[in-house]
Symmetry: C2
Amino acid sequence: MKIALAQLNYLIGDFEGNLAKITGAVSEATSKGADLVVFSELAICGYPPLDLLERKEFINTCNHSIEKLATILDPGTGVLVGSPEFNTSSDGKLLFNSAFFLYEGKVQQVFRKALLPTYDIFDEYRYFEPNREFNILHFKKRKLAVTICEDLWDEQPFENEFSRSMLYTTNPLEELHKLGPEAIINMAASPFAHRKMEIKQSIFTGKAARYNLPVLYCNQVGAQTELIFEGGSMAIHPSGRVASKLPLFREDILISDLNELIESEPPLSTGVIPDRIGTMADALICGIRDYFGKLGFKTATLGLSGGIDSAVTLALAAEALGQENIHVLLLPSQYSSDHSVNDSVEMAQNLGIKYNILPIEALFYQFRKSLEPLFENLPEDITEENIQARIRGTLLMALSNKLGNILLNTSNKSETAVGYGTLYGDMSGGLSILGDLFKTDVYLMAEYLNREKEVIPVNIISKPPSAELRPNQKDSDSLPPYEELDQILEAYIEKQLPLEKVTEMGYEPELVNRIIRMVNQNEYKRYQTPPILRISSKAFGVGRRLPLVARY
Amino acid sequence: MKIALAQLNYLIGDFEGNLAKITGAVSEATSKGADLVVFSELAICGYPPLDLLERKEFINTCNHSIEKLATILDPGTGVLVGSPEFNTSSDGKLLFNSAFFLYEGKVQQVFRKALLPTYDIFDEYRYFEPNREFNILHFKKRKLAVTICEDLWDEQPFENEFSRSMLYTTNPLEELHKLGPEAIINMAASPFAHRKMEIKQSIFTGKAARYNLPVLYCNQVGAQTELIFEGGSMAIHPSGRVASKLPLFREDILISDLNELIESEPPLSTGVIPDRIGTMADALICGIRDYFGKLGFKTATLGLSGGIDSAVTLALAAEALGQENIHVLLLPSQYSSDHSVNDSVEMAQNLGIKYNILPIEALFYQFRKSLEPLFENLPEDITEENIQARIRGTLLMALSNKLGNILLNTSNKSETAVGYGTLYGDMSGGLSILGDLFKTDVYLMAEYLNREKEVIPVNIISKPPSAELRPNQKDSDSLPPYEELDQILEAYIEKQLPLEKVTEMGYEPELVNRIIRMVNQNEYKRYQTPPILRISSKAFGVGRRLPLVARY
């Protein structure tokens, strides 16, 4: 039996578009001899639909799509497709997260997800009742265990010192294994995280080896607002070796012969884990492209400051959208150094990007003049720095409004963490590209983007970082070196270590305490930031929920 | 036996402060003869702690607080206090949401929450494992059923046509009832919703009547960022009649004699449900006061436009913070009518509020001049309107930065719904006061606030609403009358009705479709708005999660 894994990029709620993609993939796979075509979790509507699942008309449309799909498909091909399903029993949540098996023109069987991730960015128990009854798929004389994403994650990799491996009290694979399956199918929507590629693969290869069964893993691909799904669907040999794997961040179909997969020698490859920074770049490019493409936008605006963050954002955006679709503004003030403008012009010219230079001194002067009646006896402070940032934000948004563009936010994770940024100023934008990259990774990204030719002028990479909001300002005036800051931030935010453990890494308690306080006190700023393309396992945004008013 | 319900206002994570409040309440209740003092859900740390529950040091501190509390209390008084508890079994979530029974200097027994709300603003299954074993509290020859909040909500009131009454597959009270309790204790953190006061009370009175048992309901009081807990703790007679009830939005202790409660005749009162708009005003005042007080801020800034939203916001803020703690700006442009300034001045003078008038023409002129090289051949459009709003936002934030104030946002729910507002302009602020009030309720609120004397000049209430961002602009140019708009919005957003059902209410499909599209297309703006004081059962913010990139 030949099984096809269709790794597709869905638009949430675009039922016609998604259905067309699904039927197209079935046709292609059938023409190549596939007996069974497998799609990813909730493929019919796209993952994650969030509170659209609370609307009856949305679920009705999912049902109609499934019914329509069943009737238009080649009746000789089996199809496994994910969709929400009404829970017809009298109690529990209204829906199941289900896999529909379509064959011979109708729905033959339904398999329901048992383990519902409800942590980080996942909220599945908000909508779904967990499955408690396990059945096997009998198809063409084969017995297949159909699982949905988290169903294989009964054992979780430890994320931090206060997480645990057994999050659930049921183990779907143990239950299914009693029914004697010959292969495990997993329909997933598993988002990208740059340090988790190896762990994720080991979850699937580990299950194959443990049960001595092939695993066929079909993942969603493409970005859904801040979440980026890498694809990387795999056919895994019963030995736990990866037999074949689809590319990342691209639609594709993988067809495997189940008999061959079971009977062949173990493959040599254990599955190549690609370069961290390169994969991160691909993820961000995919994130930008899909955000624009799925919203129906083509063009972007951003402010080029002469610093590394806006330079890296521009280089990634140019690759995602095409350099002809970006219009940048250079917005120097009296505190901007000459090299900031020169470096930015050089960068725009390197890429052939349209740019304008709009000095902000006159506006800054006018704001101070307007505020004179209120401020006349008060000393200059951060207020005047914020005014400059907000003038820039207003000019960028004006261009974005006038041209029907989307403004790209250029903040990185380090500054977002410590609140080193101005709300409604440099924290503006429709989408944050680098908000999940610590500054040290932004530098690595710059070098990666320059790997073939100098896209980002080296001077932008080598000069000391500065906000240039007052004379001779440097980031290092108020922050420790980024190598230290990022280590502390990663330990506190991503590994969730307490102060004492961070201190044990070799940092002064006073410094660690100051950094942690900055992180905690700036929750209110992060509440109002744009969605951040998520590339780590703990990004700012929907996956990290902290009270704004609290003492901690 | 005398049971005290301690209705207190906690600060999340302020372990010392919360402990001091708890021990103070125990002393007071003990001095009045209480045998048992009951506190609300997660009282030890405050509700909702959100992802602080994912930090080991936070849970350790909860444990230490419980231990400390046990040793310092009068050993002759029993105490029931809510706290997170480590789940020591090898699987399931790391924590339970528990009630600790303290007596004679130590923890005697622990009761765990079984029904974990995971919908709207609730994310409890993100952190907690549900309880599956039920025990009773034996204390001073009485048997008491100890439940935590949602444990009594096995039957949910229908919120909309696509919700169901039985969200859970277990029924804690049925289990506990088998153990023969003589009273039901409920430790809650149940937030306010202006149309749900009656339904909420009926949940508790219904349980009392159904089991013919007294119910002692202790609710948290006070605001936690956007969530406002009204208190309203109650002692309910076995007949289902309310025997006594604590006030709303205020700390207090209710002491009931259990024997008397059981043996007395049914009280006559069914529990008074207070006036909707008046309660809403009290809720918002509580929300403002606690946001500032718990953050350690005293003073606020806001922009007074001459319209009703900023006038109502100012009147509420003045009551919450004191008129001497507010500094308003009037920011007229060439499109502002004379009455806008005059009405605003009158309002500020009515309340004795400090104000400044800063005309924005010169700044608006300077922005257009700066943008001339880019915009010279392009027609005026919404860009120029947004620039004015962002100039105002920048001036208000400048004052807020300079004085260390918090800027209050003045947007209402109707305009937030349809995207009638400028990001980084009038959508700025630290806290949105009216973001969960439809415009028609803002008018009712204005009349309520004027009930004793004219705080808000009648001209502000009677003139047609306008953003005044271009000559002779009126809200009704682009929106239907607010009476219609609000009905459509409430049907679509709060009742979650589909287009056809909204149309059946008597509106043109074309109009309904246009409104729904406006709501859906402006999700990206709401993503970046300040936290909104929640006073309905479906507010914009954390309780409503929709994809930004989707087709629907």
